[in-house]
Amino acid sequence: MVVRERIAGEKLAVEMCGITLDTPLIPASGTLAREALSEVEGVYGAILPKTTTPTARSGNPPPRIAETPAGMVNSIGLQNPGVEKFLEGLDAFDLGVPVFVSVAGDTVDEFVALCERLAGDIRISAVELNLSCPNVEHGGLTFCAGPASVQEVIGACRAAIDKPLFTKLTNEGVVANALAAEEAGADALTVINTIPALTIDIERQSVLVRGGLSGPAIKPVALRAVYDVSRSVGIPVIASGGVSTGTDVAEFMLAGATAVQVGTASFVREPEEILREFSDYLDRMGTTASELTGAL
């Protein structure tokens, strides 16, 4: 496509953890189906499929999503076919760009087993640890409930895999957790996950969806987290949270991000438009993507 040829080029490329991304955009975990890949060819610098777990998960019963102003609340429950079936289908995600794999487990041992399983797979360029799930060994608190927990799981995974290890953090306590993740050997940090949220069905007077808020509504929160974390750690930060326009991408990179994830916005517009807007911004400012990172 003409547009893709025009927006391709070195000005968009960024590098992190020894991996070159043709563009700084990455799909946020759980927001890009195999069936939708054809819509994003040439747009993303890496592909990141939905989180995989050691065994299949059927996910939560509906309703799973509720619309909110400038966003949505979801409670999908990590529906996925389990890591073995995931790997059988991974070739479908080959768009000629690096593939990052998001993993989650119920225990530290499960995280480690997943890292070991992926360690030798040459199709995978990096692993992102999804620490937002409950740690069943610690009373259901999430793995990113505090620095000690973050350090334990990352330290154990670090010993299990040589590939670049990313850690996705929630907003709560993000700076302390980021420092702990870096200390434990994380190569990059994805900041932030969805924000705990609730919607209510006013007619039935019942909870509609208790889950995580995403979309443009959370962008300022994510921007603050990326800004604060970038100033606290020496490893790359991947921004995530409400990115919906090209100037959002620029803002997150100025705040310190090396790469930027697009999630919920891809449900309501084409990621290609976001990349085009970002490219136009770079042209207007006479700069490149890599020069933008932390240039506040």
């Binding site: 819509e39 509906p62 619309e67 909110t68 979801n74 999908i76 517009r269």
Partner: protein
């Protein structure tokens, strides 16, 4: 998700429903749906998401969507001055090839929507069929005039027989196949009423986030365990595949 800005060709009020015609000369299958919204991003921060609508009709040049104003998203579409944004046709529609014998089409409420274009397709294929429609009351049942010969039931008895769509179709057993769209309890009742050896296809109505399989929000429970997405594996399912 890519949206196309399309020109509204005509708008009709049919009882409690709105019928929106827009220019669309691409292919579509009966039972497929589009994601639609009033205007492009970022105008629509609230409501944020597009809405799924089954195709009501398509004559090769003009497509139409039938909907009821239920919330802000549909209210804005109802008021849209001259253009709306729609996706391409999505999902898996009714499988009509290989149907042998007389076919029953059942619609409940706004579930009537995909039956018009399905009926048109069956006519083209020479498949004889009867239409049965159920509504809350006569105001909603006004749309039945678009289905000549349809048998109608209303819950309050203000039009047709009193009861549900199944009360309008007492001898479902004699049909070779049944195609139905409506709320889940109605579809479950149709499934129970259908013979086991009957081809029975049900179009589910679920809230959707993305429409392209990505968000996993629009799932339905399946007999083999777990959930599948109504936007990709559906919205039309073989009744036997569903858990309810």
């Amino acid at each position: 998700m890519k949206f196309h800005s399309v020109k509204i060709e005509a708008r009709e009020e049919i009882g409690e429903y709105t019928l929106l015609h827009y220019r669309w000369d691409g292919p579509m299958e009966p039972g497929q749906f589009v994601m639609a919204r009033v205007a492009g991003y970022p105008v629509t921060f609230d409501p944020f998401l597009a809405r799924p609508f089954s195709f009501y009709d398509h004559d090769g040049e003009t497509a139409s969507l039938l909907f009821e104003v239920r919330g802000r998203g549909t209210a804005l579409l109802d008021d849209a001055p001259d253009r709306v944004e729609v996706s391409v046709p999505l999902g898996r529609g009714f499988r009509v090839n290989g149907t042998d014998g007389r076919v029953a089409l059942l619609g409940g409420g706004i579930g009537v929507a995909p039956l018009k274009v399905l009926s048109r397709r069956l006519d083209a294929l020479g498949v004889p069929h009867d239409v049965f429609l159920g509504f809350a009351d006569a105001r909603y049942a006004a749309v039945a005039r678009e289905f000549p010969g349809a048998k109608v039931a209303t819950v309050d008895g203000s039009e047709g027989v009193q009861g549900t769509v199944l009360d309008a179709a007492p001898d479902l057993d004699r049909y070779a196949a049944v195609y139905a769209c409506g709320p889940n309890p109605m579809l479950a009742a149709v499934k129970r009423a259908a013979r086991e050896d009957m081809l029975c296809q049900l179009s589910v109505e679920e809230r959707m986030g993305c429409g392209n399989g990505s968000c996993n929000g629009c799932v339905v429970p399946v007999r083999d365990g777990g959930y599948v997405r109504s936007c990709i594996e559906g919205p039309v399912f073989d009744a036997e595949a569903l858990a309810w």
